[in-house]
Amino acid sequence: MPDHPTASWEAMQGSSVFYRRQQLFTLDSKLPNFGEYIVAGCRYGGPIAMMRDSTKIIALNRATPSFAKSQIQVFSSAGEGLLLFSWDQAKIIRFGWTYDERLVVLNEEGVYRVYDLQGDYQQHSLGNEASELGVIDARIHENGMVAVTGSLTLLEVKGWDGGRPMTLANPKLSEPPNSWAVIPPDITVSRHVEVLLSVDNTVYTVDTLESIDQRLSQGPFTHICPSPNGKSLALLTFSGTLLVVSTDFQRRMAEFDTSSVTAEGQIQQVEWCGNDAITVTWDSLVVLVGPFADTLQYFYTGNTFAITEPDGVRIIGPDVCDLIQKVPAPNLSIFRPGSTSPAAILYDAWESFSQRSLKADESIRSIRPELASAVDGCIEAAGQEWEPYWQRRLLSAAKFGRGFLDFYNPTDFVNMGQTLKVLNAVRYYQIGIPLTYSQYTYTSPSHLISRLTSRNMHLLALRISTYLSLKPDVVLKHWASAKILRSRPTNTGTGTDAELDGDEEVCKLIVDKFKELGGADVSYAEIAKRAWEAGRVGLATKLLDHERRASDQVPLLLSMKEDRLALEKAVGSGDTDLVYQVLLHLHQHLTLGNFFRLIEDGGEKLAPASRLLQVYAREQNRDMLRDFYYSDDRRVESAVLALDEASRMSDPASRIATVKSAQKFFSEDKDRGFEAKMMDESVRLLTLQQQLETEAGENTTFFGLSVNETIRACILNGMIKKADKIKADFKVPDKRFWHIKLYALTEIRDFEGLDGFAKSKKSPIGYEPFVRHLVEKGHTKEAVAYVARCDPPKRADLYAECEEWRMAGKECKERGDKRKLEELRKKCPNSMVAREYDQILSTMK
């Protein structure tokens, strides 16, 4: 039977708060001595990376790997070696871990690589400025980093996809800060990263906008460490005073003098233990400082390394890996000596029950009202317990208590059982992920799965994801990529056949596995990409055939030089942006002739691509469009393009020339006779307009007007003869001409001219338009004259419109139209007219 949980507890603050030291693994000196190494640990029970600290001296004759080259070793928390690689680039400035357990290594030239646990990496750079000035230090947090350049400015990188570094506000430092820290954006108030710099006596807070002096006086500080929730800050002064303040520096929470601890050597690390206590480590001593400056001391046999966890602190010593944390509330309430909480009594009752003691019934009875919460308490406590033995006991107690409840939702109980099974599996030393329950719920199950796959533990990952009914896609994808990298083309056959066989086999293996395990949504393109990167082109093509998402297929097809296929897939996807992507890529990489041929040969299938190319070229590259139409004998399009260009030209001569060229294009197409004729007219008109402009003088513009407008302009400028000539030349129908002239003459108030025009011959449009137009323009007086020439039945209304009510009445009287008169009577403006109408009405019978 493992030790009772309370065996690892120690009390602080007069035994009201307990901390426990849970031993996670025994290491048996599997790890090198931390004192000689630079170490970075990954949160959530993740691995640690170590690099030899070249500033420290070590004995020469020890059997250690070569020191000439930098080498980074990665170990799991259980001391298993995960990865070892050497660094051949410029000096490493810093390395650290991302949220998804990848190792970021930054060198002094501003180049950083992001390694996964298999040793594959992506390389990015902090930009030119950083590489010129050099990087002197950096802080790496889970989703980005902040680097200090040689000129003491701050650069921030968000995410690990090689995003462009942003420059933060310049704190105007004269020398590197004594110490500094970064509060990650997800836990600051502003949601943007905050940098804390210890300068002289004070601390500067820097974000993207400004740099604020917090006006402290205790500095300089040797350690600055923000708590996991970003709310408080631990500061250690040179004199050894540990200060705890809120991150906005408004409140001071605690102060502790570290010199009161009798320890040898210097303080190594200041780390948080959860959010309420601070660990200060010396060479072989770890001191836990509580919120009220109480301390607990833990002794180790050698150098240690502490990693802050959200719910505690992980201490890795030479022999053991421990988790120190505040005892979680449910466990405390059950196991605290003398506890009388319902959960404790329930647990006690169950123990009595299993010993067949009568006390069980009595205990249950006494907590009857709180039984449900007692059951919940036991379940929660089980989650926080490390030893499966105690987990089982607590769950049994919960199950026992549940039996006395009428309605109880068992979901929590079932979930906890499942979760503990998973957690216990990954805590096994060969897996080496000492994940606590709260860390697990914080990081989500899928995060755990991806951590397992990145360790190539596909079977376990798959079993866990099936067990938790998660989709197996992620695991399968990773597995397939790993499979491709591991499998080599078989050498049994001869030449290419053998390779094909090998490809076929691997592809079939992968596809079958996916079908079998229901990974229908796995992106084959990504796997194909891995295959292609590994030089397995055949395999890549085969895998790509299984991909359904065009947006994933296309880029790979392009890099594989499958141009036509890429274009077809892009068109098929309906995603015009994808089509553009392919078109622009091809335009860049192919000769113009080949490019056009590819599109034209595609026929109906590639027609959308061809049209998109035209849309693009019309805006951006007209020369190319002209060539494109020309090479494809598209006369009409060429002509339209020419017309479009003509409309943008200001120089008359070149405009006429361009319209002429359009005319030529049309005339080359036998079906476009009409259009050719029209363009011919257009050219004639433009030439005529040029002449008119010289005749009429500077101020009048004719050029570019339509035939109608030209006639109008002529009349407005008194060039009546010219107007008549245009009418004849362009065969303008009478009706249209009369309207234009009517409007134009009215506009210049040439009523005499209008009269003459009206009398020149019988109007082809009648005289009603004259009346109406004049009325509309407010010349009612002039309009009246034309009413008499209109159709008799309409005259009464027209008179009314001219506000000649008397005439209207007279007209009605003459025509004997009583109905019309009555209608007008209703509309008449004043009583005088009305009376008159009444009179007329009375005379009519």
Partner: protein, 677 residues
């Protein structure tokens, strides 16, 4: 129109909450702005400003750090803040302007952080162009996914004005893809459409994208609505504009439609003389004495142009009441409301006791705003009346009616020619001409060439590309008859069978006075006697009885039979059933797809075919835009079902025939400068 028609469907289920879409759009805008720290200068694409004004307001932007706002226009940009945020559609001309700004700033060595938000998604074209300009490294590019915007309680729109032109003239199908994405977002909110119906080649393309993309969009392991059949929706009907080109060419005759035709509605805003919009100083309630609105001198059109204008957001309650009425009955309704308002005011005189008085004072605010709305709409309809009295307006209406009735087509063509000679707007002429070609299956080649020549002479030879586009195979709305032998097969297949459709879909309702009743009891009231084909097609799916005869008629007979069932229970969606033959005669693909969720698909199919107690929503998506009259007609169809079915109208944008012609001709006036916010 009887008042009964106005009553809302009387079921108690709350309608689909489309304001959710607005909230999402607003939220993501704020997130986008907040991703840039500190004060920023916002540079806006003018075409986005209007739609954006529907989801947010300036104060909100200011609240999130926007210091100054500028239009994205050529020319220098001076900014006092380090952060410059561009918000625009991924268009080449905008990219050039942005690149120009950045280069200028570099020359002046003023340092800025540039962020570019592309609407609705990232574009590789833009990054490529920025790269070519050599400024890609200076710009952070991300996307602002502005999709459907609610523009009325039952209408959502992408507010993309040029959708029609892009699809059918340029052949740029970006909007089809974006629409599919927007519909997927809609499904993500409310669940899968159980059944999807489509008519038209591009509609079919959209539906194929929608159905093939779904499995791909469904990637996250978390359960989401994309794997479940919706219980809110019963179907999606996609109709592309090419299927019914006739309807937008006609003059809209509902109140809202007419306002759009004659004054223009842009993003739900109409520009009105300032005197109409601002309430008169010191509104005296007692002056609302005259039930027939007092006749002030009607503001003439010319006047309207000069007067300072003000934007008015058409959202008042009175407008909701009026918008779908045929314009001829608007006056009557205004009159009624004026009377009622008068009565309400008079109750104040009868109020004797203190509680009565308090009661009245409580209502006073509502009355006053109603009074103000009444004033505005009376003024607005007085603006419209002179415009509807012009010779050209009436002549064009007459030609439309004759063409729809296929009455003496050559004479109508001659009448169009007469209209040209009187100097009528080019857009109206082109609309009529296309209408003639569509209804008569083409225009005699001689007459056509003649009239084309007239158009070119009267309005300028630069319209030749417009005429070519209209005749191009993709659009084919202006064709000679008979077609020349060299015409591609595709064009011949596009020939529109209007005369047969007119009968089989009962498009024309006699306009004689005796039939007036009937006109008001059918969707054809929106065009005074013509039922829009697009809506008839929707009826083919969602109200089969309405296509064949008047539902309202039946209702009457039912009432006389003593049955008090009231309006119908909407019948379940069974696809195009019964109308397959008619649909086959209309050019364009016809689709009918049943979508299955991830699991339990069979049960949901069963749900579909039995009548439900709960109302469901039928989404009608118009690819290429729809008119206000079509919306009005669909609302009318929706009102006929007391229980069972509501419509949610989704569209790429609101169009009129004039806006279509303008977009094809490229003559759209670029005066959107002061649009929206």
């Amino acid at each position: 129109m009887s008042t009964e028609d106005q009553t809302k469907p009387q079921d108690n289920d709350p309608p689909l909450d489309i304001n959710l879409l607005k909230e999402i759009a607003r939220k993501s805008l704020i997130d986008a702005l907040n991703s840039v720290n500190g004060a920023k200068t916002l540079v806006l694409d003018p075409t986005i400003a209007g739609p954006l004004g529907l989801v947010t307001e300036v104060s909100l932007l200011k609240h999130h750090g926007v210091d100054k706002m500028f239009w994205l226009e050529p020319g220098p940009l001076t900014s006092s803040t380090t952060n410059i945020v561009y918000l625009c559609r991924p268009m080449i001309k905008y990219v050039k302007i942005i690149a120009d700004h950045i280069k200028r700033h570099a020359k002046e060595s003023s340092k800025h952080n540039y962020t570019l938000f592309l609407v609705p998604r990232l574009s590789s074209l833009v990054s490529k162009l920025l790269e070519e300009e050599g400024v890609l490294g200076d710009v952070t590019i991300s996307a602002y996914n502005l999709q459907f915007i609610p523009i009325a309680e039952d209408v959502v729109s992408l507010e993309c004005e040029s959708a029609f032109k892009e699809i059918w003239v340029d052949g740029d199908e970006t909007i089809v893809y974006d629409s599919a994405q927007a519909l997927i977002s809609l499904q993500r909110l409310f669940g899968l459409f159980p059944r999807i119906l489509a008519k038209g080649d591009h509609a079919a393309r959209l539906v194929k994208l929608l159905t093939t993309y779904l499995p791909q969009a469904r990637t996250s392991s978390a359960p989401d609505t994309l794997s479940e059949i919706s219980d809110e929706f019963d179907s999606l009907i996609v109709i592309d504009r090419r299927v019914d080109m006739i309807t937008p060419l006609l003059t809209q005759l509902t109140y809202e439609g007419l306002v759009d035709e004659l004054i223009g509605i842009k993003n739900c805003h109409v520009e009105l003389p300032a005197s109409l919009v601002t309430p008169p100083s010191g509104p005296a309630p007692s002056t609302s004495n005259a039930p027939p609105p007092p006749p002030p001198p009607p503001t003439s059109v010319a006047n309207l142009r000069k007067e300072s204008k003000k934007k008015y957001h058409l959202t008042d309650q009175l407008f909701m009441d009026l918008r779908d009425l045929n314009f001829s009955s608007v006056g009557k309704r205004l009159n009624q409301i004026a009377r009622r308002l008068d009565e309400d005011y008079k109750t104040s005189l009868q109020a004797k006791t203190i509680p009565q008085l308090r009661d009245f004072v409580g209502k006073l605010g509502g009355l006053q705003s109603e009074h103000q709305a009444l004033r505005l709409h009376t003024g607005l309809s007085e603006l419209l009346i002179p415009m509807t009295r012009t010779e050209q307006f009436n002549k064009s209406l007459e030609i439309q009616q004759n063409l729809l009735a296929s009455y003496n087509v050559p004479e109508q063509v001659a009448a169009i020619e007469d209209l040209i000679s009187t100097g009528t707007d080019m857009q109206i002429i082109v609309r009529l001409l296309c209408l003639a070609s569509l209804t008569a299956g083409g225009i005699k080649i001689k007459a056509l060439e003649n009239i084309k020549r007239e158009i070119l002479q009267a309005y300028g030879y630069n319209l030749l590309p417009l005429l070519l586009s209209l005749a191009s195979p993709s659009l084919a709305v202006l064709l000679p008859n008979p077609l020349p032998p060299s015409t591609p097969q595709a064009v011949q297949a596009l020939k529109y069978p209007f005369p047969s459709l007119s009968k089989s879909l009962r498009l024309l309702i006699d306009d004689s006075p005796e039939a007036l009743e009937e006109v008001e009891n059918d969707i054809s009231f929106v065009y005074s006697g013509y039922a829009p084909i697009s809506i008839r097609l929707v009826q083919c799916v969602a109200q089969k009885g309405g296509v064949l005869s008047n539902p309202a008629e039946k209702e009457k007979s039912q009432l006389s039979n003593g049955s008090d069932r009231g309006k119908f229970q909407a019948h379940p969606i069974v696809g195009w059933k019964g109308f397959e033959d008619i649909l086959a005669t209309i050019p364009g693909e016809t689709l009918d797809i049943v979508q299955r969720g991830a699991e339990g698909a069979t049960s949901s199919i069963r749900n579909l075919t039995r009548p439900r107690e709960k109302s469901t929503t039928t989404v009608v998506f118009f690819l290429g835009g729809c008119t206000y009259t079509e919306i009005a007609a669909l609302r009318w169809v929706g009102r006929q079902n007391r229980v069972g079915r509501r419509f949610l109208i989704a569209t790429t944008g609101i169009i009129t025939g004039t806006s279509l012609v303008d977009s094809i001709a490229g003559t759209r006036k670029t005066t959107q400068g002061d649009a929206g916010i």
